[in-house]
């Protein structure tokens, strides 16, 4: 049968993946510290119909040969860790990372990483994520605290009504050799994988690491215009691939029509 029909089918499947990824990006346009993904494709294997350099029946040499491709496949869906916009909230426990790095939290006793710095306090004064996962290293804000300051380098200080400050600890940041290899778990959490490498501890502001910005949250890095343009492109590419299938169908019909 006609090979091109399957190439076109692979093209349609690829565009479907693109739409899935774009839809998820758009759905998370207002998610704190959400990082957009993009789908990547590569061409599939090639079938060599005749080898370049081979001799034909007529004694000529075929100069380049004939290679026909078999379509496309999804290579991967890659997270893009570019910086999101900052939104000022003036909330003491909202912190944004300006630059590289992740916070470490403990979720169901497992180490997880996040860039969402919209921390809260639980009933015991622990600093937790909105899902209740404790920020590592754990810090407990005393009951009589009036305000909390967090400096550029992650030092957390609590002030009581008399104005006396007590240092609660330091927020740590973690980097990865390959952040794009992290596995997304949902709830703004990431898990390290073989592809990402082991987490590397670093203090905020040290080489290659970002600094901490109190009173801000990092918004999603989804660019709506870009996603819309990509969506148009994916939709049209999907349509074109379906035209290839229709053409292949009509060609087979033509072949069928040879015998009346």
């Amino acid at each position: 049968m006609i090979r091109g029909m399957w190439s076109a089918a692979s093209g349609m499947a690829a565009q479907q993946t693109t739409i899935d990824v774009i839809s998820n990006n758009l759905a998370n346009v207002n998610t704190t510290s959400f990082k957009k993904s993009r789908a990547e494709f590569q061409d599939l294997m090639y079938q060599t119909l005749n080898q370049g350099g081979a001799e034909t029946a007529g004694g000529d040499q075929i100069p380049t040969g004939t290679q026909v491709g078999m379509g496309t496949e999804t290579l991967g869906v890659q997270k893009m860790f570019s910086q999101g916009d900052f939104e000022q909230t003036k909330n003491d426990l909202d912190v944004a990372i300006e630059g590289n790095g992740f916070f470490k939290v403990l979720s169901n006793d497992l180490e997880r990483y996040t860039r969402a710095g919209n921390f809260k306090m639980d009933s015991e004064g622990n600093i937790v994520t909105p899902n209740g996962d404790k920020l590592q290293p754990e810090m407990t804000v005393p009951a009589d605290t009036l305000s909390v300051t967090i400096d550029k380098y992650g030092q957390v200080t609590a002030f009581d009504p008399t104005g006396a400050g007590v240092v609660l600890g330091e927020i740590e940041l973690y980097g990865f050799p390959n952040a794009a290899g992290l596995s997304s778990l949902g709830h703004n959490l990431y898990m390290n994988t073989d592809a990402s490498g082991e987490a590397i501890f670093a203090t905020p502001g040290s080489e290659g690491m970002g600094t901490i910005l109190q009173g801000f949250v990092e918004k999603s890095n989804v660019d709506v215009v870009e996603e819309m343009v990509n969506m148009i492109m994916a939709q049209r590419a999907y349509e074109m691939n379906s035209k290839s299938i229709q053409t292949a169908d009509a060609m087979l019909q033509t072949a069928n029509g040879l015998k009346r």
């Binding site: 090639y46 004694g59 290679q67 491709g69 290899g181 490498g197 290839s244 029509g257």
Partner: protein, 230 residues
């Protein structure tokens, strides 16, 4: 008459190969660094044989901005050199990533070669200069190896955006000062309008061969009945 039948069939088969190439081009309209193929046919010196050959059009694709620090596009002609188990290979897909050791690799895990071999860049802020210099936290680490070919038709597509070179070494040109753009990607050079027009034209050619074959069949019929053999 029978030879006319054979060349018509040959022609229909060529149209089918042309279609395969067009469908593959369209399927890869969004594949980074993809270069379109075309199947053409020419009459060989041997009487009725139609010879097929495919050629790849290496004109540059559109360059789009992604803002991702590991996306690299070549603004000048050339290919990135990568290392595979089978030896040196080449690619124009500049969407690179880091592997678990922090080594710069293509998205299917093949090491990207610098002038001094694979490059370990993990953990820092990576920037790539306009001449292909690779910096980590501002320190020059290596230079991206970029090569071009006197005759690119010696490149064979292996799939996965990878080319292997079948020519001799003197066909390879080392590019000393490539023009590299970080945060950009070269998209596919497939032009959808052109492919749709080619598809329409191919389809009608295929239809006409059907007409020729049917006419030849009708003529044979007539001839047979003329001789009273029916």
């Amino acid at each position: 008459m029978i030879s006319g039948l054979f060349s018509s069939i040959d022609s229909a088969l060529v149209q089918e190969s042309r279609f395969d190439a067009i469908a593959n081009n369209i399927a890869n309209a969004n594949t980074n660094g993809f270069k379109k193929d075309e199947v053409i046919s020419e009459r060989s010196s041997f009487a009725f044989e139609l010879q097929q050959k495919s050629s790849t059009d290496f004109t540059a694709g559109n360059i789009i901005e992604t803002g991702n620090s590991l996306d690299v596009a070549l603004d000048s002609p050339g290919f990135f050199k990568i290392e595979t188990d089978q030896g040196e290979r080449y690619t124009q897909n500049g969407a690179f990533v880091l592997d678990e050791q922090g080594v710069l690799v293509t998205e299917n895990g093949k090491k990207v070669m610098g002038e001094n071999g694979p490059m370990e860049l993990g953990g820092g802020i990576i920037s790539i200069g306009g001449d292909g210099g690779v910096f980590v936290n501002g320190q020059l680490v290596d230079q991206l190896a970029v090569v071009d070919f006197n005759n690119p038709q010696y490149l064979v597509k292996e799939g996965n955006s990878i080319y292997s070179h079948t020519g001799t070494d003197d066909n390879i040109i080392q590019i000393q000062n490539p023009s590299v753009r970080q945060g950009f990607l070269e998209k596919s050079n497939v032009n959808p309008t052109e492919e749709m027009v080619k598809m329409m034209e191919m389809f009608r050619c295929h239809e006409s061969t059907q007409q020729v074959i049917q006419t030849l069949g009708a003529m044979t019929d007539k001839m047979m009945s003329g001789f009273g053999l029916e």
